[in-house]
Symmetry: C2
């Protein structure tokens, strides 16, 4: 019974945290629910078996999200009924602003700007995304060649896709990975638009004034 899944307070807290549409790791959901990771793991298995959430593996993390908008709307309906008797919940805030803004994920751009770039590419129809797989369009190839002097045809790699959706740690949405993602980041560095923070171990990426302007011209947020 699916209602019993939502009925447990710990699971309910987890689901509420996922209502934002963002994906969260198992540990984060554990903390969100105020329980230990072991207990959370058990709950997450049940929720997954019940078809309410689905996992996405990312390195040693497991990101969970609601399986669809219908789940969210049912949860909303339940919350609406509960509101008659008085209930509420709060949300958390961010930290490490620079890291959230732009950082290196392996070898490509992540963070707010990384997500923004992939969003813009989708909007400009430079790529087609279906679930996890991303494909460069003809427009996309032209764009890469003209704007960034990147030959997409030269990026083929036996064990790594050209384009890949990578779940963003801070934004919990996809950014661009794969050999193209790496090539773009390399080009940004060559053009002195952006460079990794010199602090050892830091993953922060600092954009120059000019780089920020150029980046916005190519991948600015939609109006």
């Amino acid at each position: 019974m699916v209602a019993a899944l939502v009925g447990d307070p710990a699971r309910s807290n987890m689901l509420q945290a996922l209502m934002t549409g963002r994906a969260l790791t198992a540990s984060e959901l554990a903390q969100e629910a105020g329980i230990t990771p072991q207990t959370a793991s058990s709950h997450l298995s049940k929720l997954e078996a019940g078809g309410l959430i689905e996992p996405e593996k990312q390195g040693r993390h497991r990101y969970y999200r609601l399986t669809g908008p219908d789940v969210a709307s049912v949860l909303e309906g339940l919350a609406g009924l509960a509101a008659r008797a008085g209930h509420m919940r709060v949300r958390t805030g961010p930290k490490e602003p620079a890291l959230r803004r732009a950082r290196i994920c392996y070898d490509h751009l992540a963070g707010d700007l990384g997500v923004q770039m992939l969003d813009s590419m989708r909007r400009q129809k430079l790529v087609r995304q279906t679930k996890q797989t991303i494909e460069l369009t003809g427009d996309g190839r032209r764009f890469m060649a003209e704007a960034l002097q990147i030959d997409a045809n030269a990026l083929a790699h036996p064990r790594r896709p050209v384009c890949k959706a990578c779940l963003d740690w801070s934004e919990r949405r996809h950014h661009l990975a794969g050999t193209l993602g790496a090539a773009v980041m390399t080009r940004f560095a060559e053009l002195k638009w952006a460079m990794r923070d010199p602090t050892p171990g830091s993953r922060v990426v600092n954009f120059s004034r000019n780089g920020e302007k150029r980046f916005a011209a190519l991948f600015g947020p939609g109006e």
Copy 2:
């Protein structure tokens, strides 16, 4: 938490039984859920406290119904999510056809025809009903005088309302009670349109051929 209420199997069965929109007694809901009346009583209290159902007292019975269509739609949504993993439920059937068709409730007409009469009166705007209270309109007074020779003004009673909504046992919808309901039933008998079954203890009301025709002419079901 409202989801926990729906989560329990026994309560879920009760709610499913109420999804038809009809009101059911505590005992019936107990049977529906396969539990004893004591246990059912506890569950019903919880559901009522949670605002999912509301009781209507009728003699020594307590009829429960869902508090509103929003509750039903949330339950439907939950059932939809559950359907992904496979679930089902069945419904029950009727019995005692004659009793369900027309019978005496205290001193007024109940059963299919009783409900049909009140429905028709509402449709013809002979009465205005808001929740439990029913009020005769000007049209209604004229109708009663002309069609049935009943003077509504003479029906006032110190301790009993002229019109009252009475929850129907078999139909689980309201029929007309009060002094007017009694007067109408008396008139039906006087006109030989209908009479109580002579069997001792029986509450069945038998309509004559002519009575059935006349009744249909006045209170026939809407097209």
